[in-house]
Symmetry: C2
Subunit: 494 residues, 2 copies
C-alpha cells in the first residue's frame, strides 16, 4: 500500500482548506502514476486514521475528487481511481518538478526588435534621460483627492461596469473644449478616442494603416518607439532627411511620385530626437501632399505643452480640413508617466474603427481615472500645473545652458525653445561610446546613446534631458561630466 | 486692403492670449489665400489702430508669426507674408469649413468583424446580460481609500515615472503567493505579467502565437471576443465539438494528426458560453496532446472565483509541467469590470516576450492601481469580497432556478455549479428571435442572442446572467419573461 502518512503533508495554517490540500496531493499522486488507474483508495475511516485527519474531511475530499472526475465510487465496493485517466507523461528528472519550466513547450513569434531593458536604478548614480517629467512636481495628492471623490460619488456604480471603448464621455467632452482652446483643433465628440497614452495611439494607428510591406515615411532620425511599432506592424519604413526646419517635405514628394505611401509619422512641434521645429512652409506643403497622394499624417505632438520663449506652434491638425491628420497626444508627459491617459484625434470613421479595434486589444480604458482627469482639467488645475512646471523647467534649461557653455570645447547645441531635452552634438574626434565608458567610472550613466543613430547618420549626438534635475543634481551631473571629458581628453591625447 | 476690422474677432474673455488669437486668425487668412505670399502687412501701429488693440499686442503677434515662419521682416521696409508659403487647397464649399471632416482623406484597414455596439441604457428596461458582476457590491470606498494612501505615501514618486512592462513588482509578488494558494499554480516572479484584464492577455497571446493562416482550435461554441481576437490576428480557427464534459479532446487529436496546430483556446473551468466543466480525463488528455504536438493551451479562467457547490476545479495550468499552458485571469470580473487588472502566467520566455511586445501596444500598466490591488489582496479584502459576493450570487442563482422551474414548458437548463450565468436552452418551435422581439414590448431587452450561435449549431440557447439582479429586479425580469412567453405561445398557436 501507498505510505500515505509519509507522503501527505497537511498545513492547517495555510489559507487553503485542509480537504482541498489533501485532494490536490492525491491528484498529484494520480498524475505522477503513484496512484494508478483502477487503484482502490482506503475507506474514509481508514484514511482518516492513517493521516490523522477527521473522517468528515476525508469524505469532503473524496466527494471533491468524485465531482472532478478523478475518482469513481462503486456502491458496496469502495472508491477507485478513474479507469480512463491518462497518465501525464513525466518530465525529465533533472528538472524541478514543482514549477513552471523556463521554456515553453511550443513555438511562438519573437516580436521585439529593440533589446531595450530598463535597468534598476542605483543610489549615487546620475542617469541621463532623453527628456522626461520631474515627477516630484506632480500634484499627486490633489489627483488622489479627486480620484477618491469620484469613487465616493453616489453615481459611481455607473462607472464601475463595462464602459465605452471610446473612453469616458466626460473626459472626451472636456478635451473637446481644451484642445480647441489650447491647440486650435476644431474637433467634436466624434473625433476623439481616449487612449492609454501616446504609444497606445501610435499602435492603434499602425494597426489600422499598415499591413505587410505597406510604406510608412519617417525621418532618418526618428522617435525609436514609433519606428519599432511600425516594424512590428510589418511596415516598410522609407527614410527622409531632417534638417533645421524639420523633415524634408520635398523628399516626401519624390517618394510619393514613385510609390503608394500609407502614412508619414511626424513630430512637427519638436522633431524627435533633434528638437527642431517644422517650418510653416513645410507644414503646408506636407498637408497638400497628403491630400494629393491620399496618405495619412500621424502627428505625434508629444511635448506641445512645453515651450519657453514663445507660444507653441499650432499642430498640423489645426490646419487639417481634408481629414489627413491623425493627431496623438497625452497627459502622461505633462502630469506623470504613470498616468496612462492620452487621446487620438481624427476623422470620425477612423476614430470609430480604432475604438472597435481596441475592444480586442485591451477592451477599454479606466473610467475612474479618466473622470479624475476630466475634473483636473476642468478645474484649471492642469493649466496651473503646466504653468508652474514651465517656470521650473525654464530655469533648469538655463542652468544647463550655463554649464554646457563651459564645455563648448566638446559639445555643440542649440538652446531648446521647448521640450525637455537638448540635442547635444559631440565634436570629433570624441565619440559617445568613449564618453559613456568613462562616465561610468564617474557614476554617470549615459544610457543607450546608440539608439539615436540606428540609421547610421553619424551625427554623433544624443538627447540630454534637463527637466528632471534640481539645482543640486544639475551641479552633480556636470561635475561628473566635466571629470569625464577631462579624462577623455587626456586619453585621446596620449 | 483687407478689411481687418471686420474679419478679425478678438474675445478677451477666452483663455487663449489675445496676441495668439490674432496670430491664429492671421494664419487662417494666409492659409485660405486672403493674405497672399509677399503681401505686406500693416505696421504694428496701424494694425493696432485698425482693430483696436494695444500696439504691444500686435508686436507680440508679429514676432510669433515671424518665429513660426509665416511672416518675414525686411529691415526698413516692413513685414511681409512669407514668399514661399504654399496655399492650402480649399475644401469643397458645401463642407463646413470649421471642423474635421467625417471621412478620412486616406484609406485604412477595417479590423472589426463584430458590429457589436453598446447601446445606451434606458430606465425601466431590464437588460439580459451574459453573466457580469453586480458592481453595487464593489467595495469601492475601500479601494479608493487604499488608492489615496498609496498616493500619499512618501515613496510614491518612484511609482510615478515609467515602470516595468511586466507590471508592478509588488502586485506580481502578491499574485505569486495568491495564485499558488488559491489555484495550485507553482509560479515564480518570472512567470507573471500584469495585464489590463483578460482580453489584453488573449490579445498578447494571439499576437505572439499567430501569423497569417496559423491554426487555432476552439469549440464550435466559444467565447466570441476570443474568436474575434484570433481572426484579427489572421488565424484560421478550426472548430471542435463541445458536450457536457467540455471540449472534445479526441477531435483535437484528429486535427493534430493531420495539421500543425499553434494553439487551442479553452475555458476549462466553465466552458463559455455553455458553462460545462471539462472532465479530468479530457484535461489530462489535452495536456498530453499539447506536449506531443507542441501546441499552446490558452486557458482563459474567467470565472474561477465563482463556485457554489464545491471547490473549484484546479486549472490546467496547475498540472502543466512542460510549459504548454498560457493561463489568463483577471480581477475585473471579481471586483468590477472598470478595474482593468489581470494577469498572464506562462513559461518565462513567453512572458518576457509578451512584456516586450506590450511596450509597443500600451507601454505599461497602471502602477498606482496595481499597488492598490496588491494591498487589497494582501489584506484579505479580496477574499472577504469574494466570499461575500458568492453568498449573494448563490442566493440569486437559486431564485432564478425557482423562477425558471415555472417556465419548464419553454426552457431547459442545468443548475450552474459556478459562474454567473445559466445556459438557457429554448424548446422548439420557439426561437430566440421571436422571444427577443416580443420581450421588447414588455421592456425586456434580450440583447444579441445571435452571437451565441455564430457557427450555426442550432442549439437555440443563450447565456442568462443572474448575478447582477437583486430580488426585486429578479421578480421584475421574470414577470416580463412570463408575459413574453405567454404572448409568444398565443402567437405560435394562431
Amino acid at each position: 500500500m501507498i505510505p500515505y502518512k509519509s507522503i501527505i503533508s497537511i498545513d492547517k495554517k495555510r489559507q487553503q482548506a485542509v480537504y482541498l490540500q489533501l485532494a490536490n496531493q492525491l491528484i498529484e499522486l494520480m498524475k505522477s502514476g503513484i496512484l494508478l488507474p483502477n487503484a482502490k483508495l482506503p475507506s474514509s475511516r481508514i484514511m482518516a486514521d492513517l493521516i490523522g485527519l477527521h473522517r468528515k474531511t476525508i469524505v469532503a475530499c473524496y466527494d471533491e475528487l468524485l465531482i472532478q472526475g478523478w475518482l469513481v465510487s462503486i456502491p458496496k465496493k469502495g472508491t477507485y481511481v478513474h479507469a480512463e485517466l491518462p497518465l501525464l507523461k513525466p518530465r525529465a528528472l533533472e528538472q524541478n518538478h514543482k514549477s513552471i519550466p523556463s521554456k515553453t513547450g511550443f513555438s511562438f513569434y519573437k516580436k521585439d526588435q529593440s533589446n531595450r531593458r530598463l535597468s534598476d536604478r542605483k543610489a549615487g548614480i546620475t542617469y541621463v534621460n532623453d527628456g522626461v517629467t520631474d515627477v516630484r512636481l506632480t500634484p499627486i495628492k490633489e489627483i488622489a483627492q479627486i480620484y477618491k471623490s469620484v469613487c465616493n460619488s453616489r453615481l459611481v456604480p455607473r462607472h464601475l461596469g463595462y464602459g465605452s471603448t471610446l473612453g469616458s464621455l466626460e473626459l472626451r467632452k472636456v478635451l473637446v473644449t481644451y484642445l480647441n482652446e489650447t491647440r486650435g483643433i476644431k474637433l467634436t465628440l466624434d473625433n476623439i478616442l481616449i487612449t492609454r497614452g501616446s504609444q497606445h495611439g501610435i499602435y492603434l494607428a499602425s494597426q489600422l494603416l499598415v499591413k505587410s510591406g505597406d510604406i510608412i515615411i519617417a525621418g532618418t532620425t526618428n522617435y525609436i518607439s514609433a519606428d519599432y511599432t511600425f516594424v512590428n506592424a510589418d511596415a516598410k519604413i522609407l527614410r527622409i532627411p531632417v534638417d533645421d526646419h524639420g523633415i524634408d517635405t520635398k523628399a516626401v514628394e519624390l517618394i510619393c511620385k514613385k510609390k503608394k505611401v500609407k502614412a508619414i509619422y511626424v513630430t512637427s512641434h519638436h522633431h524627435h530626437p533633434t528638437t527642431k521645429t517644422m517650418s510653416a512652409e513645410r507644414r503646408l506643403h506636407l498637408l497638400n501632399l497628403a491630400q494629393e497622394y491620399k496618405f495619412a499624417i500621424i502627428e505625434d505632438d508629444y511635448d506641445y505643452d512645453f515651450h519657453y520663449n514663445q507660444a507653441p506652434i499650432l499642430p498640423l491638425m489645426s490646419h487639417d480640413i481634408h481629414g489627413q491628420v491623425i493627431y496623438i497626444g497625452s497627459l502622461c508627459k505633462t502630469v506623470a508617466p504613470t498616468f496612462r491617459v492620452g487621446y487620438m484625434i481624427a476623422a470620425k470613421d477612423f476614430v470609430t474603427e480604432a475604438a472597435n479595434l481596441r475592444r480586442y486589444i485591451d477592451r477599454q480604458g479606466d473610467p475612474l481615472l479618466e473622470l479624475t482627469f476630466a475634473r483636473f482639467i476642468q478645474s484649471g488645475s492642469l493649466n496651473r500645473h503646466i504653468n508652474k512646471t514651465l517656470k521650473v523647467y525654464r530655469k533648469r534649461r538655463d542652468l544647463f545652458v550655463n554649464q554646457l557653455n563651459e564645455l563648448k570645447e566638446f559639445f555643440e547645441f542649440d538652446i531648446p525653445a521647448g521640450g525637455m531635452a537638448f540635442w547635444l552634438r559631440l565634436k570629433r574626434p570624441y565619440t559617445w561610446d568613449q564618453v559613456a565608458t568613462i562616465a561610468r567610472n564617474h557614476k554617470l550613466e549615459i544610457g543607450e546613446w546608440q539608439r539615436y543613430d540606428l540609421n547610421n547618420n553619424g551625427h554623433n549626438a544624443i538627447r540630454l534631458g534637463f527637466a528632471t534635475y534640481n539645482e543640486e543634481e544639475i551641479d552633480s551631473l556636470f561635475d561628473k561630466l566635466h571629470k569625464t571629458m577631462k579624462s577623455l581628453k587626456r586619453q585621446v591625447k596620449l
